[in-house]
Symmetry: C2
DNA sequence: CATGGTTCTGCCAATGATTCGCAAATTATA
DNA sequence: TATAATTTGCGAATCATTGGCAGAACCATG
């Protein structure tokens, strides 16, 4: 039990996420699938996106309208810079965080075990 | 037109947010109101919380279950450290960000105009 | 390439937080 | 108190997301 099948729908969904390097909602992925003549149900899109996130292959965020959106990740621990113009997502390394860790412990008595960061602005192409 | 009324429900809602220094959902605020024998509808709770956020007096985040939660803010630009045990929220100043700003511009060509950060761990009392 | 057990998918109904519409209540002002 | 503007409460509507389940797809084995 607990095996893992490589199926057509999953490959088609991953394909779309890989080609678009920006946060996509389930509905957007679904529309892209239809445009590509791929017959995949919305349920499967939801399930597959969540599965990718659980496996750490995708990252998710809630957009301004409260919808869950997903983007493929490559490196392990990092953060995202999101272009306000084109939506392009850049993976950002996380070096200067030790400063925060120290400051939080020294000043607030707070012991850090995780953090989340998002950056917004304009990417190189959109400037 | 466009005046602003100080009403009982609004004061009661703000009261609850001020006393609990952690992220509360609309439903939690509503239950707290009932416990305090305050007769305020859930709709008003939703409207008031969103209004506080719009005025910058509260900050909101989506919790693990996808629900919107709110906490009162005092200082202007800052971030939140959230205790995993008691939910206590600590406001954290934002000094080391210039490093990220520089790195993003130099390395990724990305021009920053905003960022969001969240820290998780255990507060001083819960350690 | 047939079989059989497991895993996935599609369909469609249910869920549940949030929003909307509107009449009645509240607030501010005079 | 009278008046106009704003807010509230209620219930219905919205809409992304989840759940249940029967059938299809997958894959190892003989
Ligand atoms: Zn861009
Ligand atoms: Zn980091
Ligand atoms: Zn704590
Ligand atoms: Zn900051």
């Amino acid at each position: 039990m607990c095996a893992e099948y490589a199926t057509r729908p999953r490959e088609q969904i991953a394909q779309i996420l890989r080609s678009e390097r920006r946060y996509l909602s389930a509905a957007e992925v679904f529309r892209a699938l239809q445009r590509a003549r791929a017959r995949v149900s919305l349920s499967t899109v939801y399930r597959t996106l969540d599965r990718l996130r659980a496996k750490g292959e995708a990252s998710s965020r809630i957009d301004e309208q409260g919808e869950a959106t997903y983007v493929i990740c490559t490196t392990s621990h990092h953060h995202h810079a999101i272009c306000r113009v084109c939506g392009h997502v850049e993976e950002v390394a996380c070096d200067p965080m030790e400063r925060f860790t120290e400051a939080l412990k020294a000043y607030h008595g707070f012991e850090l075990d995780a953090h989340a960061m998002e950056f917004f602005g304009r990417c190189a192409r959109c400037r």
